[in-house]
């Protein structure tokens, strides 16, 4: 195993992770704060037999990586909020056609142009529900530069295993922060399953995932964003075909949600539990170090599909305290799976939570009776 230690910012670590995972095609459009990923890919890819292309907009970026994915490459794009909004159309297409792609969203303050150079976590629901219709995706959330590297590799493996768009929902803090990172070159790679001879292009295997008919391998397949039957041909009139297709596409991810789950559970016997992902995890960890053995902590490295069973680990929980850099997007998801009171600690504007603020929220949590309480910092 060759390992190299470096001191990089999160975006560069992400690009290095993608290259280690075998990504050989990147299409992107410049946007703060994700541009370093495109810059690094532009410098690195041509030297290792890959292709970098700067597209005319984010709509085209996603379109190009979907095309590239069907041509057989592991493909990726990187963007931030406004570009992410533009991508929604083709994200739905990727979900419907079950195309493995990886999209990095280095989140910034929104809506609209918002705060280009400040961190936020405001796109968490958009990445899950942004495109129209019912579908399911996988979203990861890194909280350190090392995780930017490791989770990017993971994202490619999940995309190929589940044939779905996978999002790495980083934020500006993680993207621009420099930390020590170890860059492994021989990471685990789970390749996509190629379509077998005689197998129908959209017929599921035992995991609900069809084989992938790479273009140019003589499969002669037709891929369409229309409702399609198992042979891949459009079949838009039949309610039965549509329901079967959508239920399978959602089920292939949602039925495996606890297999996909990747969480850290700390102090499961505690009464007051912090749930966090991304940058706020760092503050929670600081608090846990400052006052050990007091609070529990659930860190979500994979946010979507939501790992509901991990909530059951906290047997004595009296309240869940959820610091987020948005107005409580994941808190509402937690609400769906628990009757334990929830304290949301939203913080907007780009600054991270401080340990003192979280401590204050934990004090409020001791008194709550309502299902959902917001702590105004």
């Amino acid at each position: 195993m060759t390992e190299k230690t470096d001191f990089l910012n999160g975006n560069v670590a992400c690009a290095e992770g993608a290259i280690a995972a075998g990504c050989r095609f990147f299409a992107g459009y410049p946007i703060t704060p994700s541009t370093e990923i495109a810059e690094r890919m532009a410098a690195r890819l041509p030297k290792i037999g890959g292709t970098f292309v700067q597209m005319e907009d984010e709509l085209a970026s996603v379109a190009a990586i979907i095309g590239g994915s069907w041509a057989g490459a592991r493909t990726m794009t990187a963007t931030s909020g406004p570009g992410f909004s533009l991508m929604m159309e083709n994200i739905g297409y990727a979900a419907m056609t079950e195309t493995p792609i990886v999209i990095i969203n280095v989140q910034r303050g929104g809506p609209s142009t918002g705060q280009p150079t400040k961190a936020a976590q405001g796109d968490m629901l958009q990445c899950r529900y942004g495109s129209h219709g019912d579908y399911s995706i996988i979203a990861l959330s890194p909280s350190s530069v090392q995780e930017m590297f490791d989770l990017t590799v993971r994202a490619f493996n999940l995309a190929d295993r589940f044939r779905t768009p996978v999002f790495l929902m980083a934020d500006e803090t993680i993207g621009h922060m420099r930390e020590k990172v170890s860059l492994h070159s021989d990471v685990e790679i789970i390749p996509r399953r190629e379509l077998k001879e005689g197998e129908l292009p959209c017929a599921p295997d035992e995991n609900g995932v069809p084989g992938f008919g790479t273009f140019g391998n003589g499969h002669n397949i037709h891929i369409t964003g229309l409702t399609h039957s198992e042979n891949g041909y459009p079949s838009t009139d039949s309610a039965e075909v549509h329901e079967q297709l959508i239920r399978r596409q959602v089920g292939k991810i949602e039925d495996f949600r606890n297999e996909i789950a990747d969480v850290d559970i700390v102090n499961p016997d505690a009464e007051y539990i912090f749930i966090s992902y991304g940058a706020p995890t760092r503050t929670v960890r600081q608090l846990m170090a400052d006052v050990p053995e007091t609070y529990g902590h659930l860190n979500l490295r994979i946010v979507w599909p939501f790992p509901d069973e991990s909530l059951l680990a906290f047997k004595n929980a009296k309240a869940f305290i959820i610091p987020e850099m948005n107005l409580g997007q994941i808190a509402k998801e937690v609400r769906q799976y628990t009757n334990i009171p929830i304290v949301i600690v939203p913080k907007l504007g780009g600054a991270l939570h401080t340990p003192a603020e979280l401590k204050k929220a934990a004090e409020v949590a001791k008194t709550v009776t309502k299902p959902m309480t917001e702590v105004r910092l």
Binding site: M55, G67, W70, E89, G218
Partner: protein, 264 residues
């Protein structure tokens, strides 16, 4: 390979209305592909959304039916990852010039080695005949009930200005010339843009006194002016009569293309 093998026989007859020109354009494209002796596994058809874009569903090779206007962006991805693949894009006038206008000019600017067959039927056919950026001035459509009061695009001039290596326009009446043009387009490296004026008797013709497909074909025969004749007329100071349009090969040049293998 036989010409018949290029059709997905299990999908025919297709969904197009009686008299629709899209089937003719499909014939010409597949004929060009067959004449060049391409193999199925190295040919990819990509299309956007609309009547024209359903064509990729009837071609027997890998085909990608994508989102509205974005076919060229998808094709860019396929071509850059597999440069030896012959990528043919079916698109329509609305798909290519309205919602996909940006992708179109940028694909031309990049001069990526694709062949774009733009089926221009003057309207949005699949949604029932609304005006498009290529609807002729004064034509009646469902969204221009008092006549189109905006000027149409000249897609060939647009492609030429944006940098395409091969640009031609024919109609669905000129099947031999069209086949030849698509063939040339496939042979010329870089972006080849072939605009095909086709008839939509159902949505365009019926509102513009050409209810029958044969009437629209007569209109093409009368109004299409060969480029050589048009050039001669222009030199003699005679402008193009209103309602007429020029057909022929407009551009064939060898600017450096993108997405072509080094060895080529």
């Amino acid at each position: 390979m036989n010409l018949e093998d290029w059709y997905r026989q299990d999908r025919l007859p297709h969904i197009y209305c009686a008299g629709c020109g899209n089937g003719t354009v499909l014939n010409c494209t597949l004929r060009a592909v067959q004449e060049l002796g391409f193999r199925q596994e190295e040919t990819t058809f990509i299309s956007g959304i609309g009547c024209s874009s359903r064509a990729s569903g009837y071609t027997s090779s890998d085909s990608l039916h994508t989102t509205h206007g974005r076919a060229l962006a998808f094709a860019t991805g396929v071509k850059l990852v597999k440069p030896h693949q012959h990528v043919i894009v079916f698109t329509g006038d609305g798909d290519c010039s309205a919602i996909g206008g940006n992708h179109f000019i940028h694909a031309c600017r990049r001069n990526i080695d694709l062949t774009v067959v733009c089926i221009n039927n003057n309207i949005y056919g699949m949604t029932g005949g609304q005006g498009s950026p290529c609807t002729p001035y004064g034509a009646i459509t469902t969204t221009t009930p008092y006549g189109m009061h905006e000027q149409p695009f000249d897609l060939c001039k647009l492609a030429e200005a944006a940098g395409a290596n091969y640009v031609a326009r024919w109609t669905s009446y000129h099947v031999k010339e069209l086949t030849e043009a698509i063939r040339s387009g496939l042979e010329v490296p870089g972006l080849s843009f072939i605009e095909v004026m086709t008839q939509c008797p159902t949505s365009f013709g019926s509102k513009n006194k050409m209810r029958l497909a044969t009437q629209m074909i007569d209109m093409f025969r009368e109004n299409a002016v060969l480029k050589v004749k048009a050039d001669r007329d222009t030199a003699a100071g005679k402008p193009l009569e209103p309602g007429k349009f020029i057909v022929g090969e407009f551009v064939r040049r060898h600017n450096p293309p993108l997405g072509v293998e080094e060895s080529k």
